[in-house]
Symmetry: C2
Subunit: 157 residues, 2 copies
DNA sequence: AGTTTCCCTATCGAATTACTAGGGAAATGT
DNA sequence: ACATTTCCCTAGTAATTCGATAGGGAAACT
């Protein structure tokens, strides 16, 4: 009964870190998959698959050949962290595999639905607002920063 | 690449719904596993395992025999939804299986750590505050309700 | 005793997760 | 033209997790 709960998968984590490397390199510059993999300690072939998702999702543009690599398709301040996660990993929050609005509860559990909706809204509030540019520049919006700076937020449970 | 993301497992969902049935029955009354399973449409034997977790976690008290069943160990307004989820399903939020404070990021990804912390804090803000009594009585705290009532919170992405 | 109900362990198939392998296709440099 | 680089695609795989089921033992009540 240990490591379950709401988890951010390795795939989502890797996708965001790769996108951050691209953001840090500048909107014009391009990086090779191998360079990103080395910089972030991500298995190279696994990362290639993830970068393919980001490309199909319209977040990055790729080019083959000697001078090839990947670059962001849009400015880093117009790509939210949530965009990257959704493209690489599907819907941000789900309950038993389905998105909250599709759930049917009965009896005393009826009010669970708005509760899950509220949880999802509070996750979105952060991940839809924070962009690659924010994180790459280490400058989170004030509301997010104040959440993260609360010492209680760092405690175990 | 479909149903991943941050998911609330069937186990966590079932655990909360079972606890809500107990809360609705009153702090003193007790219900049999079979009755809870029928009321909420949860596989009976699967639910028994979950109720075992809740008991070992100190959230419910069980009794065997003809007049047996389960009842809450504490008043419903002193048990947060987060308590139930943690006991049944482990830590609320994790990244790649580990809890955020244990993560090590480098380069432009360094600020990811406070970001995940902020996400977790925002999830906790809801699930630590809302109790079984709130949900069973269909009366969510105002801040939570206003999050859930925003029509944008119900949209797809 | 006999029934009821919780309690424990074991098992199961299907899905998911995190990777790995191998080769094909396009762009570039000489 | 040719070799090299780098992306691109499909398939596979070992380990784990998820959701569920089965069977029987132990305690409590009538």
């Amino acid at each position: 009964m240990d490591n379950r709960g709401m988890r951010i998968s390795a795939r989502a984590d890797y996708a965001v870190r790769a996108a951050l490397e691209l953001a840090a390199a500048g909107d014009e510059a391009s990086l090779k998959a191998e360079a990103i993999a080395a910089a972030q300690g991500i298995p190279h072939k696994f990362l290639e698959g993830i970068l393919g998702d980001l490309r199909r999702g319209g977040l990055v543009i790729s080019q083959r050949g000697g001078k090839g690599g990947y670059r962001l398709a849009r400015p880093a301040d117009s790509i939210a962290i949530a965009d990257v996660i959704r493209v690489a990993d599907g819907p941000l929050v789900s309950v038993r595999g389905v998105r909250p609005p599709e759930l049917a509860y009965c009896g005393p559990a009826e009010t669970l639905l708005p509760l899950w909706i509220a949880v999802r809204a509070n996750v979105r509030k952060i991940l839809d607002e924070v962009t690659l540019a924010h994180v790459a520049a280490a400058e989170l919006p004030d509301e997010v920063l104040s959440l993260a700076e609360d010492p209680k937020a760092w405690t175990n449970p």
